[in-house]
């Protein structure tokens, strides 16, 4: 019996010490982890916007995150956007704007949540749920960043996920206010090395650059070899002016498929197509509502 007690005691003691060590580490690292993750995303985003390397990011630039939710209650479903309100520069807090499926405004609820916490999905969900009350269930779907410069919109950053050849492919897509593509970055994928994995190469993803919204809406994949000059321009092997020329030349062309990886190529281009089309449709509705209801937003 004494033996047994000793075992229990020592095991408990060990567990407590272990828990203490792990807990401490967790507390110590958790903040850094979030900060680093955010920084990484930020880096990609800036690179997409053209601020790579050591370029200064202008003070006047603002980034405003929009979180989209699907809200379900007794009556049916509606779409909710958590967005920052108030003028640029002042912290007006966040507001949850609900829009009906047909695009009509339903209501607006103020959500008390800090800039820090809004990035954490758990915290954010909790705050919205509290603001909305218990009879509604919310499901987070996606988030978009609206980039402004001097209060003018300069770009939208969309993150999305769609099925590739093997698993999901996650991308960040940058659009200009006319919904033409500024750039595309592949964040996660598990495509085959040498084949589908080439989607992360410049010569593939840069093909989307400068494609106008009209083209993106119906973009297809062409199975033919890519012309050498286009390849060089995409890879950045020619000087900027010449590259721009060539890029303009091909802006209305379909996407050249990766050799041997048509499925991955099609997956990315239809993913981009779908994301852009849906976003354009939704943002128009949202802008419409914001204007009608005269909700002041910093973008």
């Amino acid at each position: 019996m004494k033996n047994f007690l000793t075992i229990i005691f020592r095991l408990t003691a060990s567990c407590l010490v272990a828990g203490l060590i792990m807990g401490t580490t967790f507390v110590l690292t958790n903040k850094a982890k979030k900060a680093n993750e955010h920084a990484r995303e930020q880096k990609v985003v800036f690179a997409l916007l053209g601020y790579s390397g050591g370029q200064e990011i202008p003070e006047s630039m603002g980034m405003h995150e929009l979180y989209r939710y699907v809200v379900t209650d007794g009556e049916g479903q509606s779409i909710g956007y958590l967005l920052p309100v108030g003028e640029h520069g002042q912290d007006g807090g966040f507001s949850f704007v609900r829009i009906g499926l047909d695009g009509s405004f339903l209501n607006q609820t103020s959500v008390p949540v800090s800039e820090e916490n809004v990035r954490d999905q758990g915290e954010r969900d909790k705050a919205i749920q509290a603001a909305l009350g218990g009879d509604k269930t919310i499901r987070f779907t996606d988030q978009t960043i609206v980039v402004t410069d001097h209060g003018q919109r300069t770009a939208y950053l969309l993150s999305g996920k769609f099925p590739g050849f093997k698993t999901n492919i996650a991308i960040i897509l940058a659009l200009d206010p006319e919904y033409s593509v500024i750039g595309l970055e592949v964040m996660e994928h598990e495509e085959d090395p040498g084949l589908g994995a080439e989607i992360e190469q410049d010569y593939f993803k840069n093909q989307f650059k400068y494609k106008p919204f009209e083209k993106i809406k119906s973009i297809e994949v062409a199975k033919k070899p890519m012309p050498d000059e286009y390849f060089a321009a995409l890879e950045g092997n020619v000087d900027e002016a010449a590259a721009d020329d060539i890029m303009q030349q091909y802006r209305d062309q379909d996407i050249y498929a990766l050799t041997g990886a048509t499925i991955s190529s099609v997956a990315v281009s239809s993913g981009v197509k779908g994301m852009t089309r849906k976003f354009a449709y939704r943002l128009d509705l949202l802008d419409n509502v914001l204007e009608q209801q005269q909700i002041a937003v910093p973008f």
Binding site: F165, K166, P193, G194, L195, P225, G260, T262, I263
Partner: protein
């Protein structure tokens, strides 16, 4: 002094070398046809493949202090088969690397002929497919129509690549297939004779079948594996290959891809296939089923090679499950 070796004192005239070289000979007509279909570089690729396989075999045997048995033709056959499953437009370096994988790692590290578990030629191909995914899946050439067999060699093969029938069917659908090659009933003939893009060796169904039948006539292979492979492919394609159940095209499935080549020449490889008849039937059916699975649901347009590779290691298992029937076991069972 007379020879006093143990009985039997008479031996059948067959030998390993004779078998292997006969199989190689059976592969020569498809190769010749392939030269007329894709050009003279096909011959060069095959030659490089055969020679490098034989060279690697000789080097391995020398290095391991074993008698050099290159003349038994098994390395030559491996080289021939490996060349047969690569596209006609690849660079000449590719078969050399494949030979190292096939003969050194696939065969001699495991103890040489008779001890490998995977068909060396297919192992070589799987390695090449992983190493040169683009070349191995896109260096297909459209059949020459003018018989100018030197034209690709002179002009280079890069600009003319095309897609294989199965790839078109898988990636672009049946409509695109019809557009590129014609309706199935129109293509049976040309596919059977060999006028379609594809691997070096999968051109002519007719010549492959004739070669296989000759091997059967010589009793080097039996009907069990080829029939069960092709039967299963046809049956399952008919059931699941169409847009709805029971509308697939079994004949097209057998004629396209390496189905005939695989069924007659690769699945029947002695070393990597089971030895009893029941086991062979199951082995063949497994290959057929996996082929159709990969073709319909998998990541590759063509599934025969991987299907055979996947079934190969099962042959020891199947051999263990299906032992030959003993004449009469001792009364009261084994002790």
């Amino acid at each position: 002094m007379w020879n006093v070796s143990v009985s039997p004192h008479v031996r059948s005239p067959e030998s390993v070398g004779k078998i292997m070289w006969t199989v190689v000979a059976c592969l020569v007509p498809p190769l010749v046809l392939s030269i007329f279909v894709f050009g003279i570089q096909v011959l060069l690729i095959t030659a490089v493949s055969v020679i490098s396989c034989m060279a690697v075999e000789a080097i391995c045997q020398k290095a391991l202090n074993k008698p050099v048995t290159v003349s038994d033709g098994s390395a030559a056959l491996t080289g021939m088969l490996m060349a047969f499953v690569i596209p006609p437009g690849v660079s000449f370096l590719i078969p050399v690397l494949g030979a190292v994988m096939a003969i050194f790692i696939g065969k001699h590290l495991l103890g040489g002929i008779g001890y490998n578990f995977f068909n060396p030629a297919l192992l070589g191909r799987a390695f090449l497919l992983a190493t040169f995914p683009v070349a191995m899946t896109s260096a297909w050439l459209p059949p020459l129509t003018d018989g100018a067999i030197f034209s690709y060699l002179a002009s280079g093969v890069d600009a003319v690549s095309t897609a294989t029938p199965l790839a078109v069917m898988k990636e672009q659908g049946m409509a695109a297939f019809r557009e590129a090659f014609g309706t199935p009933s129109e293509v049976y003939g040309s596919f059977f004779l060999g006028w379609r893009p594809g691997c070096i060796g999968e051109t002519s169904g007719l010549l492959l079948v004739l070669g296989g039948l000759y091997l059967m006539y010589r009793r080097y292979i039996t009907w069990h594996i080829p029939v069960s492979v092709l039967g299963t492919i046809a049956l399952l394609t008919w059931m699941f290959g169409g847009e709805t159940l029971f509308t697939g095209d079994p004949l097209l499935a057998v004629l396209t891809g390496g189905a005939l080549l695989g069924a007659f020449f690769m699945a029947t490889d002695y070393v990597t296939s089971p030895t009893t008849r029941t086991a062979q039937l199951i082995f063949g059916a497994g290959i057929g089923a996996l082929t159709v699975l990969i073709r319909i649901k998998g990541g590759y347009p063509e599934g025969v090679c991987y299907a055979i590779l996947l079934m190969n290691p099962l042959s020891p298992v199947l051999d263990g499950w299906f032992k030959p029937k003993r004449f009469a076991p001792p009364a009261g069972g084994e002790k």
